[in-house]
């Protein structure tokens, strides 16, 4: 822990570099982060509201906001995991030659993912405004939601990134698992449609769903998540982080031998 704190300036530099690379590569750079949610929203509006109309939950029927908040959360989660798995491999010359605490690479990856998520909140707020979706003070709770999501994601990233060093096919496998997990998470569909489905328990006890709802509550439902749900999510995030950190510690000595 103290070791990582000592390298905090390095972490900031890695985050800055990652963001710079991301925005330099694409032609319109930073604008893309702003534009992408708006375009997705247009598609969602056209496709879903004209194809099938259903009530999502009592009182609220703003499908684009429902789906978009889910997509933003999912993109953060899945992209951060894949990126942290690649972060160790991508820095192999450093890990082979310098005694840097290896956690800094997945950590920097997740932090830059958080920054992207926060930036994408700007167009989301614009959409809330334009669709006359009620904006409540509960939105101020979002930093806590994002923190929980970040801790959970970091835990998963720490758990999986050494595996990607030891076995080259893990990244692809995780890709497949992530797409299954995506369907088990209510991103595009409301929980309601699962009422009589045998898959309901799988979705209900999916920890990613729990964390997603903490993120979605302030945006879509305009309320702070209930305390019981929050404490469950806090435990999930903490457990993920502890397991991830423990697994990473255990395997980190072996990383330079395999990279």
């Amino acid at each position: 822990m103290r070791e990582i704190y000592r390298y905090r300036d390095l972490i900031f530099a890695l985050v800055a570099r990652e963001l710079k690379v991301r925005y330099r590569r694409s032609a319109i750079g930073f604008t893309w982060t702003m534009l992408q949610p708006l375009l997705t929203m247009l598609v969602l509006q056209v496709v879903f509201s004209s194809l099938f109309r259903m009530e999502l939950e009592e009182g609220t029927n703003n499908y684009p906001v429902y789906a978009l908040s889910g997509i933003m959360f999912w993109n953060f989660f899945s992209q951060s995991i894949v990126a942290s798995m690649n972060s160790l491999k991508g820095n192999s010359p450093i890990l082979r030659k310098l005694p840097v605490p290896k956690e800094v690479f997945p950590l920097a990856t997740v932090i830059s993912g958080v920054i992207n998520l926060v930036l994408a909140l700007v167009p989301l707020m614009l959409i809330l405004l334009f669709t006359h979706h009620p904006m409540t003070p509960a939105l101020l709770f979002l930093p806590v939601s994002i923190l929980l999501a970040a801790l959970f994601t970091l835990g998963a990233g720490l758990l999986l990134s050494p595996l990607a060093v030891f076995f080259s096919d893990v990244v692809e496998m995780i890709g497949v698992l992530l797409s299954i997990l995506m369907y088990l998470t209510p991103i595009f569909y409301p929980m309601k449609i699962l009422e009589h489905s045998p898959y309901l328990p799988l979705v209900r006890f999916n920890p990613v769903r729990s964390i997603l709802e903490v993120f979605r509550d302030p945006i879509f439902r305009g309320k702070v998540p209930p305390l019981t749900h929050l404490s469950v999510c806090f435990c999930i995030a903490l457990a993920a982080l502890l397991i991830g950190a423990w697994a990473f510690r255990r395997s980190s000595d072996r990383i330079p031998f395999y990279i």
Partner: protein, 261 residues
């Protein structure tokens, strides 16, 4: 542990476990694991190395390619954890296992000064205080504002050395880095190493250029096949080493004639 000890290695052994079958994927690993056919070839890069280095000593390390010299330096730099034995390292290390490891070729020289020094564990503030001195010592002039991909390997080496030695460490570790760069720069490097030595730093040098070892070190060890073959005054050990290997073609000219095995 006595206060004047800088490095103490006790029966250090390090094993690279090379899989006999290539098992790069989890699927294959699972298959081999279930069949019970996971066999590894063990390559002991270091065997029972005992080494004590006092503060302020300059130690040279000689040996043929693959004798374990770089592995030993990686253990001392805490990059690799030994399979067996205990390593006690006192003080701050400046490891130069490869000049400019961690350079980003898309960034400018100046940006790389920051990135590289951060990787070595310095804070941004420390670097800001030293950056002019680093650029000055590297002698790169206006090149410092140009991306690193435009640098020659000698220029990269100069920048790497300037960064790594900008702070006086307790232990300076140099792996085959004195032979790169031109003569003037090599002289400046050696001058700096001597000044570190004068201020009480421990210096470890791996080099195939035995002259460089004789010039910079008082003590020398000879590693052969992962084992300590000799340990003593630099001149004695180097002579011993040269008597056995000095006539081998290519070995000291950089191994160019040597066929890779």
């Amino acid at each position: 542990m006595a206060d004047d000890l800088s490095i103490r290695l006790e029966t250090i052994s390090l094993c690279y476990r090379l899989a006999k079958q290539r098992v790069p994927s989890l699927k294959e690993y699972a298959i081999h694991f279930l069949r019970g056919s996971l066999a590894y070839e063990q390559l002991w890069a270091l065997r029972d190395i005992d080494l004590t280095v006092r503060r302020g000593e300059t130690l040279g390390i000689v040996g043929r390619n693959g004798a374990g010299k770089s592995t030993l330096l990686k253990v001392i730099s805490r990059v690799l954890k030994p399979t067996r034995g205990s390593a006690q390292i006192n003080g701050r290390i400046a490891p130069i296992l490869e000049l400019g490891s961690g350079f980003d070729y898309e960034l400018t020289g100046l940006e790389n000064v920051f990135l590289n020094a951060l990787l070595l564990g310095h804070s941004k503030r420390e670097i800001q205080a030293k950056v002019d001195e680093i650029v000055d010592f590297s002698g790169l002039g206006d090149f410092i504002r140009s991306p690193l991909r435009n640098y020659s390997s000698g220029m990269q080496a100069r920048l790497g050395f300037s960064i790594a030695t900008a702070w006086v460490p307790d232990i300076l570790i140099l792996d085959e880095v004195l032979s790169v760069g031109d003569v003037t720069f090599t002289n400046r490097c050696e001058e700096r190493i001597r000044s570190f030595h004068d201020s009480g730093a421990t210096v470890l040098i791996v080099s195939h250029a035995t002259q460089a070892i004789l010039k910079n070190c008082t003590r020398c060890i000879w590693l052969d096949d992962g084992q300590m073959k000799a340990d003593g005054a630099a001149l004695d050990v180097v002579n011993l080493y040269l008597r056995e290997h000095g006539t081998e073609p290519g070995e000291h000219a950089g191994g160019r004639i040597h066929t890779a095995s």
